[in-house]
Symmetry: C2
Subunit: 223 residues, 2 copies
Amino acid sequence: MQPLIEDDLEALTRQVLHMGGLVERAVDRSLAALLERDQPLAREVIDGDAEVDRLENEIEERCLDVLALRQPVARDLRYVAGVLKINSDLERMADLAVNIAERAEVLSEVPPLPFRPDVTRLAALVKRMVRDGLDSLQRLDAGLAFRTWQADAEADRLYRELIGQAIQFMREHPERLGDVMHLVGALRNLERLADHATNIAEDVIFVVQGRIVRHHMREFAPE
Amino acid sequence: MQPLIEDDLEALTRQVLHMGGLVERAVDRSLAALLERDQPLAREVIDGDAEVDRLENEIEERCLDVLALRQPVARDLRYVAGVLKINSDLERMADLAVNIAERAEVLSEVPPLPFRPDVTRLAALVKRMVRDGLDSLQRLDAGLAFRTWQADAEADRLYRELIGQAIQFMREHPERLGDVMHLVGALRNLERLADHATNIAEDVIFVVQGRIVRHHMREFAPE
């Protein structure tokens, strides 16, 4: 019996969600390493990146195989095209987690900086956005994708607030300038993680609704 | 007479190169605005972004149409999948140019900072990378794509050097801290532009050679 296109799409979904799980774990661990000043954990994130890179290539090959051999149309076609783009986003998110882990390694060797509660808040929000973005893909849930997209404004606000605090602290403690700049680097990567989660959400809405909503999100209301 | 798939691919190429031209222009102008402290020019970049957003949607729709109606295989399929990803990169590059233009607006209202020669050097390198990445797409030239990819190491080096200088300057001039942080933001966007040009180069090599070279670039030697 010939396998159906549904089987191929299901296999593709399993694989991209597996990759999503690895990326989510890398993000969570890099943030724990940053907040808990945990060098061995940071090292694990850095060492784990090769597996994500390998999976990215595998998923891209599989997307092209499905396109060539199954020639999907309509929603199935949008789904494969969406996975192709989400796959790129996920790989870049893993790289951002590695960058955060590298900053965490450096920062765990200097005295603690005083922004822990606000960094924790931003980290929790971004972690939720990453998880919701992946859940919206798994369930093809445009409503959840829309809420993920909405959360980005709050992530931007928290990020800008933290940068303002960091600048103020550097003014008062010029001797900690180098250390704060490492934290600023980590925060910037955190903010970019939120952007990628937003991109995934936009792609999910496109898959489900067949409408490109990015740049028009404000006019968009999910059923 | 029915149009050929070649005609469709040619139309797609024309459109993505048109978008590439707009993005290259936005990048060049944002950097000129930053270096020349030119507020009206910065404003033009910011206002021009809507057209890029529109084109991104149009190109994505066209890619899906070609996939659905033409069902390309082998190199044609890789080409359409590559354009789909390059399209996303281009749109994000336009956003980065907007961010640089916004920093340029702020920085043109404060006294000049002393890093002009090095910023000029980094800007020139990144502009070349963007142009070479697009040229390698137009000519499907894997060799040029590889050289674009190689240039990223130098962009990273120049960027890190500049950040070191910025930290040193902030130590000596804490009263200019806020201004320098705007420049640091612009530099980071510049470094990300180089990353996106590198992504485009990787996709071009994949289209031409049918091999996914990212994460394995060091083993790669073009014919």
